[in-house]
Point group: C2
Chain length 271, copies 2
DNA sequence: GCAAAAGTGTTCATCGTACACCCATGG
DNA sequence: CCATGGGTGTACGATGAACACTTTTGC
């Protein structure tokens, strides 16, 4: 026990601490989905819950952490029970913890936010218990007021985190199907970082991944069967490296995010 | 004083959640101190506590979070009460949350770890209540077994975080005195990132900060009064910008961290 | 004057981008 | 055969590191 009440209370038997807060996890699940506008392709999973505390607002899927459960396990359970998603093998990382007093109306609730990345075509959403609706929503232009509590803050930090991570790690491959073309890879970067990246041609774009080609981490696996589209079919590749790895040098691609350079607070790391 | 048993649970006309965990904060306080060996200059604040649960091991200063307190406030209070440090104006950021079941022997304790940066010459350590000893310890070569619970993990993540941050933000200035020379700035980077950075001369090193000179964010303020040392006295500078800002481009300085490139997991962001 | 540290400018290699060109497919 | 998208190689500009050289101090 800490100072505030009385130093070491039951000093006798191994001081056991009394719970002082509710610990929950929330998960920001990102995916890429085909849409007409490239800016809308990057989407996040939002649910509408039955409970009155959530009003009629959207929220990130989350659960309370069980007594013997890691955060990671709780986060995956949240996706299973709320959205019917089997997240066992998904990319999942801790984002940061949100615990301002009063952020939740039901007590001192501390939420450990996570980010997950998933290939949408793999999954089918299923409403879990206590869930009214469940949807993929484009991350851009989502009004903060539509989200409950401080979930808009979580989403904002998550967006920054994923964008930053795209620049120095290989997480993008988590969002692509097993086999993909260079164009699809470029489209992923364009959707998340900046649509103007589309202007980079294959040659220039590939240079950013030369390290992967050199180490046979990004290997060609034949050609795309032409699915009725015009133009030459792209070569298919498979990524065989660890997504946890990072680049030796961060991507520059300045001209991409050029234009005024919005602000310089990128949340690489919790801030 | 908030009794953690059930002070306000009675007010549960609407679903009031029962606390399921103990929430604490721990702080990794870094500083730079003059030592013969440059690798030893980067140091961390560690304490030895009275409580039996801590055995005779070293730990990061930390406290339990009060009912109406933000994490930030709790972290600063930890430094005040444990080490007598007035951390009101210090750089402080959330690092990540450590909550594996069983990490603490006193119950389900979830700790929100933080990183703080301080100029050592400002401060004098004072043992707080329940503290046996308190010391600055070089961050390198600290055996993990000397730290309690998972504090060695926290420290490891904190080290990676600060190193990464040095490359893309201006946090280094938090560790330097108000007025400093280019050599001292270089020494800070050398101590934290890589001693071989010492080889960069003023001209090359300054180029990494050209953006700051151009915007008058790093301004000359006369010369260092020569304190008995040989050689030409360096020009003094003052940093007037926000430490929260980030570089447009990350530092490269590859040759610095060259040599085998240990591993590629830098914890930029919680991982 | 000499050693030591601070500071400057030029040269060279590297890397990102633009661009001109070639290839494969559907209509 | 031509429009469309995929793919390659070269040239140019920006930037980072090495290095030779100058400046200022203490002894």
């Amino acid at each position: 026990m800490e100072s505030n009440t009385n130093g070491r209370r039951a000093a006798a038997a191994e001081a056991w601490l009394n719970p002082n807060a509710v610990v929950a996890v929330d998960v920001v699940v990102f995916t890429l989905r085909p849409t007409p506008a490239i800016e809308d392709r990057w989407q996040v999973l939002l649910v509408r819950r039955d409970e009155p505390a959530f009003g009629n607002k959207l929220s990130l899927p989350g659960v309370l952490v069980h007594a013997d459960e890691t955060f990671d396990a709780a986060a995956r359970r949240a996706l299973q029970t709320k959205a019917g998603l089997d997240a066992r093998d998904w990319y999942l990382e801790q984002l940061g913890t949100f615990g301002d007093p009063g952020r939740d109306t039901r007590g001192r609730v501390v939420s450990v936010a996570h980010v997950a990345l998933v290939r949408t075509d793999d999954v089918e959403l299923v409403r879990g218990s206590g869930i009214q609706s469940i949807d993929w929503v484009p991350v851009r232009g989502l009004p903060a007021e539509t989200l409950v509590f401080d979930h808009a803050d979580m989403l904002r930090v998550a967006i920054n985190r994923v964008q930053a991570k795209l620049r120095y790690s290989w997480v993008a491959f988590q969002l692509l199907p097993d086999r993909f073309t260079v164009s699809e890879l470029r489209a992923a970067y364009s959707a998340i970082l900046d649509p103007s990246l589309e202007r980079l041609n294959t040659s220039n774009f590939k240079k950013a991944f030369s390290a992967l080609f050199a180490t046979d981490t990004l290997v060609p696996v034949g050609h795309r069967a032409t699915a009725g589209k015009v133009g030459r079919p792209g070569e298919l590749y498979r990524f065989v490296g660890p997504v946890a790895g990072t680049r030796t040098r961060e991507l520059r691609w300045d001209s991409a995010r050029s234009k005024k350079e919005v602000l310089h607070v990128h949340d690489r790391g919790t801030r």
